[in-house]
Symmetry: C2
Subunit: 421 residues, 2 copies
């Protein structure tokens, strides 16, 4: 099948391209490289070295013997999006080109607005480009399990049989997101659902759990590595715990650590997205998948990380810093994820095996982590209207803050092992 991946330079987009190419699909991608820029903005970099995109393409040619077509551009430019969709005429578009960090969206008003505006605009542009240039294409859109929040009941896949005062209807399950970013995903879900209704679009809306891991089977060479973020803004829970252990820092589940979420390994998230691509819904159908493998509390993840760390002669403690987020620290959590299983999804490895591999990779790149150990702990507080000052303070600043109050660029001194563009 012809697949277009938006955000192909990202943590998920890159291994998805490898996975689909290895499975014989014809793949093109687009990206604006803004995540590379924004990770620098908060003073960090990827734990794994990420090659400039042309070198990534060359590595695909060399190691997979395949070609990845690429378009550099921004989803907020409608003409660009329409041009790529017209040119590619894809069977499926996997839409990953969104601002993906909750803490980033909580920094201040401008980061909140940028997150919601960019994500909503990009998705609307894609909806219209498909309507105009590829009306039969299947849109696989990346949402998040975080759209649902933590209701005191099982979480169905998108819709449920609601009852009120004796009457029933099948309705969208209520959303209670926990950051401006998570709300932006709720908004996109609404827009895509509506596009299916008015334009006859076919869509799979993936309520993605938290992804962890450094590897997929197709990453057979360091040149094929995907990025791996570990700072408070761009890193995710389990990934950051391993980094903490490698750096000799305490492992830090926020607050009581009873926060429970659905998690999925990077390789299994790729498996799921491929299943979505290979099994499109009917025209006009809006299909929701809760895409996670199993639910864990952050305390459980911290304990397991500590256990595996010992095998590598690392002896982290577990500490509980105050939760910078506004969330329940103990709650019921029982989401359903039947749709994925029905299509043959199978867990590739245990979480513990996966953790061993993350440790091996991160120990290999320990110097890159050491160079940025100051960005691991949280400074952005959800309840504060302006967190910019804290980020600036934390970053080893080359220039004083500008008079306009803008975040100054972080030190540009390149680390020797830092081949990012």
């Amino acid at each position: 099948m012809k697949v277009l991946i938006t955000g192909v330079d990202g943590y998920s987009g890159w291994p998805l391209a490898l996975h689909l190419l290895a499975r014989g699909h014809d793949v093109a991608g687009l990206d604006n490289f803004v995540t590379r820029k924004r990770v620098r903005e908060v003073g960090s970099h990827s734990a794994t070295p990420v090659l400039p995109f042309p070198k990534r393409q060359a590595a695909i040619e060399k190691h997979l013997g395949k070609t990845l077509r690429f378009y550099k551009g921004d989803m907020t430019d409608y003409d660009f999006v329409k041009f790529v969709v017209e040119r590619e005429a894809p069977d499926s578009v996997v839409h990953l080109a969104e601002q993906r960090s909750a803490p980033y969206s909580m920094i201040d008003v401008h980061h909140a607005v940028a997150t919601q505006v960019e994500n909503v605009t990009g998705t609307l542009h894609l909806i219209y480009a498909l309507r105009e240039a590829a009306p039969r294409a299947h849109l696989v859109k990346m949402g998040t399990m975080g759209e649902y929040g933590t209701p005191n009941m099982e979480i169905p896949e998108g819709f449920f049989e609601a009852e009120f005062r004796g009457r029933k209807d099948r309705l969208p399950f209520p959303r209670q997101a926990g950051s401006w970013y998570h709300w932006s995903k709720v908004f996109d879900s609404g827009d895509v659902m509506f596009a299916c209704k008015i334009f006859g679009l076919k869509a799979t809306d993936v309520m993605q759990g938290v992804i962890y891991g450094t590897r997929t089977p197709e990453i057979t060479d360091p040149a094929l590595l995907t990025r791996f973020d570990f700072d408070e803004t761009w890193g995710t829970a389990l990934n950051r715990f391993v980094v903490e252990a490698v750096l000799g820092l305490p492992i830090t589940p926020y607050g009581h650590g009873g926060q429970t979420r659905g998690f999925i390994a990077l390789e299994d998230s790729m498996q799921s997205l491929r299943l979505a691509v290979e099994h499109p819904p009917a025209a006009g159908e809006y299909r929701v998948w809760n895409q996670f493998d199993a639910a864990y509390s952050v305390n459980e993840l911290a304990e397991l990380t500590k256990k595996v760390a010992e095998e590598f002669d690392l002896h982290p403690t577990i500490e509980h810093p105050p939760d910078p987020r506004v969330e329940a620290e103990q709650h019921y959590y029982q989401p359903i994820h039947d749709n994925l299983l029905a299509l043959g999804y199978q867990r590739t490895r245990t979480l513990e095996d996966n953790l061993r591999e993350i440790f091996r990779d991160l120990i290999r790149y320990r110097r890159r982590l050491e160079a940025r150990r100051h960005v691991v702990m949280p400074t952005v507080n959800w309840r504060d209207a302006d967190n910019r000052g804290k980020l600036v303070e934390r970053i080893p600043v080359a220039h004083p803050p500008t008079s306009s109050g803008e975040v100054p660029p972080p030190s540009e001194t390149p680390a020797p092992e830092r081949p990012e563009v």
Copy 2:
């Protein structure tokens, strides 16, 4: 109380300022005058003459003996919003400064994006400006009954006791909006709900029914008239039916005409908003009101309009053009609106009496309607990705369409009775 009205130059904003001033409140407003511009963009103008803003302010001084402070600017400019909130330090902000037309949002991708981006950005800016400069102020935000769609059950006020597989929780009632505009209102509701949670904001989210009418008790002179739109893009159902009758056109409920909505008279919407302002919720409370007086099908409204028209020696027929929207034309509709009644809301006049007054006003301004009779019937089809051409075709064009595909400005020949700025 000190009240700030955003969108004070609009259909609701203007009579709200008059009403609150007459009740002894201290009122300031802001506007960017974009509705005036956008109504011209679709080739129309207000049925009632709308004075330039300084003359409106002077009319308030003259007829009410009060002062309305005014700030010209755009809600997408955060510094402007923060400046006004700091300067005014209001007890309440009534937020009406949003793109408010569903058909406008459906014209094409650019109108869709503009609608959602402007509305979400303005609301986020206001949320942060309140957090930073007036954290105790009460935000009264204008939503719409259209956020709910038409579920096959009673519609509660924002929240309901949901049950799924034997467990219960109080959850936001699911939203199923019917245009990009209506979705933008859903998005704002999500953001305001979240702001109450993280910032302790107090808010009333008004799920506004369709407003009709030309008058409130404070409009005692033509210089105090509010705008009244009747074109397909900016006009609302009942208002447009009266215009059709006055122009000798058929009254045109779309499709089968069984579409049922909550309606409220302009004067009673002002009463409701005042009740919200005068009875703020507690800090951190997010309160939802379904703000309508009674539900009618568009067929019922068409019949009643026809009946009252006869009293004015007008003899309209009723015709059913194909519904350009994507909506159920027959459905269950039973929204709850107890919160408003609990605070003492009372209907001022019957719908029939109100219709008589609309007829009197519109017959007075018949020449202004005649000059724009070509803009009453629908051309924007919800299912089409690009409706610009149809709008251009319909407008008496002074210039040919530009090569960029932009909608050209409509004829600038001023009608003699058109004092809009």
